[in-house]
Amino acid sequence: MEGSLNVIGYGISVIGAGIGVGIVFGLGMQAIARQPEARGPLQTNIYIGFALIEALALLGFVLAFALG
């Protein structure tokens, strides 16, 4: 077998970020469903949370290339 351990490391690092993004969007949808008139500010906050969590996955992606 050939390949890079970095890819496996990236896969592991994405698990946490994937769970996090799922929680953010899931609870965001729930919040919008409970209070549809608050959609605007909720959406903005969902995207902030998404962006902050996504950075973790992307750091893993960049490091997988940078340390190769």
Binding site: T44, Y47, I48, A51, L59, V62, F65
Partner: protein, 285 residues
């Protein structure tokens, strides 16, 4: 798929089911390092730069695109907007109502020019990855997001210092209010690290890495589909290979549409975080 990828794919085209044919070579990171344009004897890069590469050309194209859009839509301003002007007003109002007002408040309207230019410029640079024959997002080179993030970094520190004064701003940014004194030696280094070092770094890397990953994904689908396209391999194998490469083409088209959404989202998120940082610097107390 950039021109380099096209060459790369052409080399391995039709390799599937060819006995002793070339193996599949996935597109490498090399597609993000186009060789600089050379002329005459001056074949090497300009001094202190990496030369005039495809990135530099596309940067000029993106800048011209944004400048033309702004000139074209605001040429004849009127109180009752024309159709062209209302396109521009939709963009500005979108930034104001979705980003500037929620993050900074009404005082944030003075940063609207910065935010609108950031959004349009990043979106134009991203969209370069989807225009046929150009097909290289400018933001997939780390230097361009770093430059933009540095502008935002300097802006929000300047806003904080101008609003609160040098000492008070850094004290409020670094020392969390309401924390007991004994935990401060632990909290202050973390706050310094997260507010002034990790924050601009992730701000730049977020944009860079999504564009890099998206472009690499599209290049892999294109190269893989071309590698599997081998209709001359006999009736059975030829049909199978055409089916394989057809599904790769389908995935390429679907992911191109997905990529368009990501490009818009990343431009939006970059602008949103810029507004958030400016708003936090302004509100710090």
């Amino acid at each position: 798929m950039s021109a380099d990828t096209l060459n790369l794919a052409a080399e391995g085209g039709g390799g599937l089911f060819t006995p002793g044919g070339p193996g599949f070579e996935a597109p490498s990171v090399g597609i993000f390092f186009p060789s600089p344009w050379s002329w005459g004897d001056y074949s090497e890069a300009l001094p202190y730069t990496s030369g005039i590469t495809k990135y530099a050309v596309l940067l000029v194209v993106a800048t011209a695109l944004v400048a033309f859009f702004l000139w074209w839509t605001t040429r004849k301003l009127a109180i009752v907007p024309s159709r062209k002007q209302s396109i521009f007003e939709i963009v500005v109002l979108f930034i104001r109502d979705q980003i500037s007002r929620p993050m900074i408040g009404v005082k944030g309207d003075r940063y609207l020019p910065l935010l609108v230019s950031l959004f349009l410029f990043i979106f134009a640079m991203n969209i370069m990855g989807l225009i046929p024959f150009l097909q290289l997002p400018v933001t997939s080179n780390l230097s361009y997001p770093v430059g933009l993030a540095a502008v935002v970094y300097i802006t929000f520190i300047a806003v904080g210092i101008r609003t609160h004064g040098f000492g008070r701003y850094f004290k409020s940014a670094v020392v969390p209010s309401g924390a007991p004194a004994w935990i401060l030696p632990l909290l202050v280094p973390i706050e310094i690290l997260s507010n002034f070092i990790i924050r601009p770094a992730t701000h730049a890397i977020r944009l860079f890495a999504t564009m890099f990953a998206g472009h690499l994904l599209l290049a892999t689908f294109a190269a893989g589909g071309w590698y599997m396209f081998n209709p001359s391999a006999g009736p059975l194998y030829g049909t199978i290979s055409v089916l394989f490469s057809g599904s790769a083409l389908l995935a390429f088209i679907i992911f191109t549409a997905f990529e368009l959404v990501i490009m818009f989202l990343q431009a939006f998120v970059f602008t949103l975080l810029a507004a958030l940082y400016i708003g936090q610097a302004q509100e710090a107390h």
